[in-house]
Amino acid sequence: MIRNYLKIAWRNMVKNRLLSIVNIVGLSAGILFTFVISAYTWSELQVNAELKNADRQYILQSRWTGANMGYELVTIAPLAKALFEQYPTLISNYYRFDGITSTVSKGDKHFRESFQIGDSTLLRMYGFSLLHGDAQTALSDPYSVVLSEDAAKKYFAKTNVVGETISIENFSGAEHDFMVTGIIKNHSRNSVSSLLDDKENQFYLPIAAAQFFGREMVLWNNAHVVSYVELQKGVSPKQLEEPIRQLLKKNAPDFITLNLTQYLVPLNQYYLSKDNGLVKKMIYALSIIAFFILLMAVINFVNMSMSHSVTRLKEIGIRKVLGGLKKQMILQFLTESIVLVLFATLFAILLYAVSRNYFSSILGKSLPELTVFPLSFILLPFALALFVGTLAGIYPALVLSAFKTVDSLKGKLSTVKEKIWLRKTLVGFQFSIATIVFIGAIVVSQQIGYFFSKNIGYNKDYIVSAQVPRDWSSAGVSRMATIRTQLSALPQVSDVTLSFEVPDGRNSGSAAIYKVGADSTSAVSTQFLNTDEHFASTFGISLKAGAFFSQPGAFTDSSTVVINETQAKALGWKNADDAVGQRVRLIGRTDIYTVAGVTNDFHFGSMQESVPPITFVHVANSQVFRYFSVKLKPGDISNSLEALRKQWAVLMPGAPFEYKFMDETLRHLYKTEIQLRQAAYTAFLLALIIVLLGVLGLVSMSIQRRTKEIGIRKVLGSSVTNIILIFIKEFLFVIVIAGCIAFPIAFTLMQNWLNGYAYRVQITAIPFIISILLLGTISALLIALQTMKVAQSNPVKSLRTE
């Protein structure tokens, strides 16, 4: 029997080729999106899952009583080690690292790279395997280095490079050769080798190398080390609370003991819940979108099957006369829809393989290849086909098989006609979703446009930033000042500034500031920016009052600071001019600073947060710096960059010129929003395809139903245009209703989203008008094309069909 069903299913598919193709395309669009989101979710859930003893791996996190006292991610340097040594029944292993950045050289290759200076336990604790080298000894010599496979390929173009050397620069500009002692085999993503973002750490140095970089990992007041622990079997993180408190009390300075609480986060949850659960939120949002898109596709399928039911009705009638039971009819229809969905699923798998890279770039995460999935996943497409096929087929199957035998034999569609409102509702529902997604995409785009507009408070155009070698001393600062002058002398360059920060939201730190003469309890929190006096002119930040440290080139008194408008107000100066020349102090320091100027507010970080109070400190004073930011003159940019590169190489031999335009920096800052925009447009495109297929199905149904009416109208003298208009009108109504439902929902959703930003666009009528016009026009065109043929056909023919 089942073979019989399959045979009929296949023949019906071949016979109604167009319908089948339309159905398969629509369904595969929905299934493809579901696959993409599932694959994305799966690969996000895989992060940290393949670590050895993943269920017992934890990361130590810090909770400080004050917002600006320390970072959450890092902890007291010797803590994890002490826990391991003194509580061996609780802790079975630990790994700590100090993350630094420096320049690596091999021959004429120079790149800035990130390093983990850490414990040798790394190579045994997490199940990383070495392609070459010995895990026991690889991280013992102070001048040894372990590379990732990719890093080995980058510098040596091969992986078997144990015994070769690379040269690494320290922070005072000295270079030393490090011998490669191991190559780590590529492994799946985890929060040990890529803690902050998706970039894998490529270089691992032994603890003993810390000295070369002027770092240490033994002092109890060093709260800047990332620490992981592996618990013994059966130990809960709660059991560690008391030992940690004891250790801190015994060893750490009071400031830490009083203000710091340590807590453990399991690594298998850490990735999903970090950054306020950003990853989790993204997974939820995308899953909801995928669900609705799949739902739309299924609705389409139902509509299409129903609109095609006339031809099947007769067959059902015959089958019933021949003794077929209702149950058997239902089974036959379900088989057909499951077979069709199976085809759509297989097609979607093919599409997945083809479009993987495209979706990877949209989601900003590389999606796994088909071969990466576990073998058991091969059952999933079949399970999906069975589920979606049943879901999509059960309604038509029930409706069609419930007809009275005699009626179906005559092909009477009277009862089907009565249910047309149901199908219209479903298509209306699809229109609503498409409209909501489209409005969402437009509003997100508008907000992103706002991020990149003039409202950021400075001029980001033509600015490139590149990191410079680190020599944090007064000699280093004056050397950089000389180089700055030489760079700015280039004809292609309009201005250059040396600073520790660029406007990417990441600054060196914060402190509490208060007016001299006022009580220290009146202090307000301020963010530090370390820049030279050219920062404002290079970035085009305008001044409200005073000067930006001094007139460019003039001597800068090391005790001057510049504040922004928000800071001035926070300190109680209503008028910016009042602040100039005033003196301020920082909590915990004895120095007195004089305010040299007040800048207009600008967006140093994301527009999610309101502009914080900012205090500019001169690099000559703080003696920390990272970037040269160069404002190029408009013109041939690639030529200018080439000239800059040449001059850079002459002035700072061996320093890589890895530049970034400000636009890129901003794109990185608003990465999530940009991904959301991409995802929204893709979802809209899919929704549009599906909704148009839905219209196609409903119109063909409508045409079938009204063939006779068209014939009569034509006989009575109606024009082709008039007839097409009849059909368009029928749908315009649906679209208008759908719009009425979609608008308030879209408005609320987007209002909600925008409320997450301190600076945002206002929602105007434009996205609503655009979306409804576009959907309406495209649908009307489609309907016109589809009805054209019927409207032009000879009425004698259509009248004869009755």
Partner: protein
């Protein structure tokens, strides 16, 4: 075999009750060949549908081989006609997606007959109707007469006691029609199959052993 007592059927159309069948009393014995005649709209098809249990009636009693049809549930009714009644239609009503062989096989599938047995039965009937060479063709590849032949073969394949034929020759030319009627006569005479046919044509009606005239849903005496 068939006993219809005071069968009445009506339909509501715009508030008016339109009678399709009025007080039909009819007894058919096994082995009879009955022709029902009457003009268009006189209720021939409706009566056949009622006898074939495809359609329901509003009043009266219907006994089929001693079973009170009017008291049976849908499932039993379909069980009953599945195993005892074969249908032949004016428009053949073959399934276009199935070959001749598969069309004939379908009723057997619905009676859960084993594959090997099915093959034997279908092969038999193909042979008997001389259509072995056409078994892999689709209905659209056949002439009207051939299609109706397949239709009759399909009606007979499950060895029914009763054949209901609604204008079986209506779409055929006179020669093809004659062949089908000869076939019916032969089935009736040699196999003892009871046949009830509805027809317009006096000539075809004459093949039957008994003629019933219908007018406006009533049997004319």
């Amino acid at each position: 075999m068939i006993e219809l007592n005071h069968i009445t059927k009506w339909a509501n159309s715009g508030g008016n009750r339109v009678f399709l069948l009025r007080d039909i009393n009819l007894t058919v014995k096994e082995g009879e060949f009955i022709s029902i005649m009457g003009p268009s709209g006189s209720g021939k098809s409706t009566l056949l549908n009622v006898i074939g249990m495809l359609d329901e009636f509003n009043e009266g009693e219907y006994n089929f081989i001693g079973q009170p049809v009017h008291e049976l549930k849908e499932k039993h009714r379909s069980q009953l006609y599945k195993s005892h009644i074969g249908f032949v239609f004016q428009a053949y009503h073959l399934i276009d997606e199935l070959t001749v062989y598969e069309n004939i096989e379908t009723p057997l599938l619905y009676q859960n007959i084993k594959s090997s047995e099915r093959q034997a039965i279908v092969a038999d009937i193909l042979d008997r109707f001389n259509i072995v060479g056409k078994k892999d063709l689709f209905p659209t590849q056949l002439s009207g007469g051939q299609q109706q032949l397949v239709g009759v073969a399909r009606a007979l394949v499950a060895k029914p006691k009763l054949i209901l034929a609604d204008e079986p020759t209506g779409n055929l030319n006179s020669k093809q029609g004659e062949e089908i009627m000869e076939l019916f006569k032969q089935l009736n005479a040699e196999d003892g199959v009871t046949i009830i046919q509805a027809t317009h044509s006096e000539r075809n009606a004459a093949y039957g052993s008994k003629i019933i005239n219908l007018l406006d849903g009533r049997i004319e005496k």
